[in-house]
């Protein structure tokens, strides 16, 4: 196929990914690499580079919307960013030495795990948790607006969260995903941060993490403009539209459908990688 066809088709696919990602809050980026490698037979390194671009696009593009609600905690985000950016560097350098087959296998496994994670329930509110001395020293505790006024919350198990974030960063650097799910999981389950604070803080973090890996990818020549262009523009347009329609849709069913799609893609990627087609 020629460049025009490629641009149109990849643009449409990316639009869909961005749209679904914004609607379900599950991040369309995770679908992009499989789409590009399985359907368009793009080399996985180019695909990961383009995916990183799309993660930055949605993170920065959606920032204004998230912020207005007043949930994100910059201190938590910034402190944990030390771990994620270092992890991202590590992951990006790993990508150079690891075979594409291994990347494909790891990606397939991550997809399956993501699908599983998205079916788990989350706790919205943690009440009566005592203060953690380290988190208090680092000034991470905060408050968020709720129906009953400003509500205080405390942060816990910072070292564990830090370690998980390093892993999330490495995955991001290796696979080109935002690792938003891992980040939210770490903040929600490990550090006991309220869900809405976790998700908005994660949005801030995925962009910074992706930038750390993208820098390495760009300077190593893994980011091709002709290929990344339809991805970036498609995802931007799709996520903007998805965010608009968010209030009017029933996300629960969509999430289930999305989780199923991710699971199927995960199996497909594992198969393709194992049989040497990636």
């Amino acid at each position: 196929m020629n460049n025009l066809e490629f641009t149109a088709l990849v643009g449409a696919g990316s639009f869909g990914a961005g749209f679904l990602g914004a609607l379900t809050g599950l991040g369309g980026g995770v679908v992009l690499v499989p789409l590009l490698t399985l359907l368009f037979h793009v080399d996985i390194r180019y695909a990961v580079g383009a995916s990183l671009i799309s993660v930055i696009a949605t993170s920065s593009g959606a920032a204004a919307a998230y912020v207005r609600e007043g949930f994100s905690n910059i201190r938590i985000g910034m402190f944990l960013e030390i771990a994620t950016t270092l992890g991202a560097l590590f992951g990006a350098f790993l990508a150079v030495i690891v075979t594409t087959k291994a990347i494909g296998l790891i990606f397939g496994g991550t997809l399956l795990y993501s699908a599983y994670l998205s079916t788990r329930p989350h706790k919205d509110v943690y009440t009566d948790e005592p203060q953690d001395p380290l988190a208090t020293k680092l000034r991470m505790n905060g408050e968020y607006p709720s129906l009953t006024g400003m509500r205080e919350y405390h942060v816990h198990r910072v070292p564990l969260g830090f370690g998980l974030m390093f892993g999330a960063g490495a995955l991001s650097g290796l696979l080109g995903i935002g690792s938003g799910a891992v980040k939210v999981l770490a903040m929600d389950q490990a550090m006991k941060i309220p869900f809405k604070v976790s998700t908005t803080t994660s949005n801030f973090m995925i962009g910074v993490t992706a930038a750390a890996s993208a820098g390495v990818y760009l300077s190593r020549g893994y980011i091709d403009p002709g290929m990344s262009m339809p991805v970036m523009l498609g995802v931007l347009a799709g996520s903007l539209l998805g965010a608009r329609l968010l209030a009017k849709t029933e996300t629960k069913k969509l999430r289930f459908v999305f989780a199923t799609v991710i699971a199927v893609l995960g199996i497909e990627m594992l198969y393709q990688a194992a049989t040497g087609k990636i």
């Binding site: 196929m1 930055i56 207005r68 030390i82 950016t85 930038a211 990344s228």
Partner: protein, 129 residues
């Protein structure tokens, strides 16, 4: 109480940052669209081959190269420049946060955000960008 001291790094600043980011993303998108137009007009009917990984030419991997290509109206250069601008938006967010922390005299977090900024800088400079 600590909460009151954090005015700079909460609502107000984040809203400003949000607008800054939107502006950055928009500029990036404009560049990419412009570059795409040039690229597709010139190479639209050529085959798109991304199956084999060949690595980008050095002109598209470094600051100087990208600017050079863009200023010479090469479609791929303009697009790459747009992608670079996009890449810088999270970096700007970190820098902004560092300044906000400085306004609050929260030196611990000035150090934290500076460290993150340096990691980002290294990632771009590390291999010759």
């Amino acid at each position: 109480m600590e909460i009151r001291k954090t005015e700079w790094t909460d609502q107000r600043t984040e809203e400003l940052v949000g607008q800054l980011l939107r502006a950055g993303v928009t500029s990036a998108a404009v560049l990419v669209v412009a570059g795409a137009a040039v690229f597709l007009v010139r190479h639209g009917f050529q085959p798109a081959n991304y199956r084999v990984f060949a690595g980008e030419p050095t002109d598209l991997r470094s600051w100087r190269g990208i600017l050079h290509e863009a200023l010479h109206a090469r479609g791929r250069g303009i697009m790459q420049l747009g992608l670079l601008v996009l890449l810088l938006t999270p970096v700007a967010r970190v820098v902004f946060a560092a300044f906000a922390f400085a306004m609050e005299r929260d030196w611990l977090y000035v150090a934290v955000s500076t460290f993150v900024f340096l990691v980002l800088l290294y990632s771009m400079a590390g291999s010759g960008l």
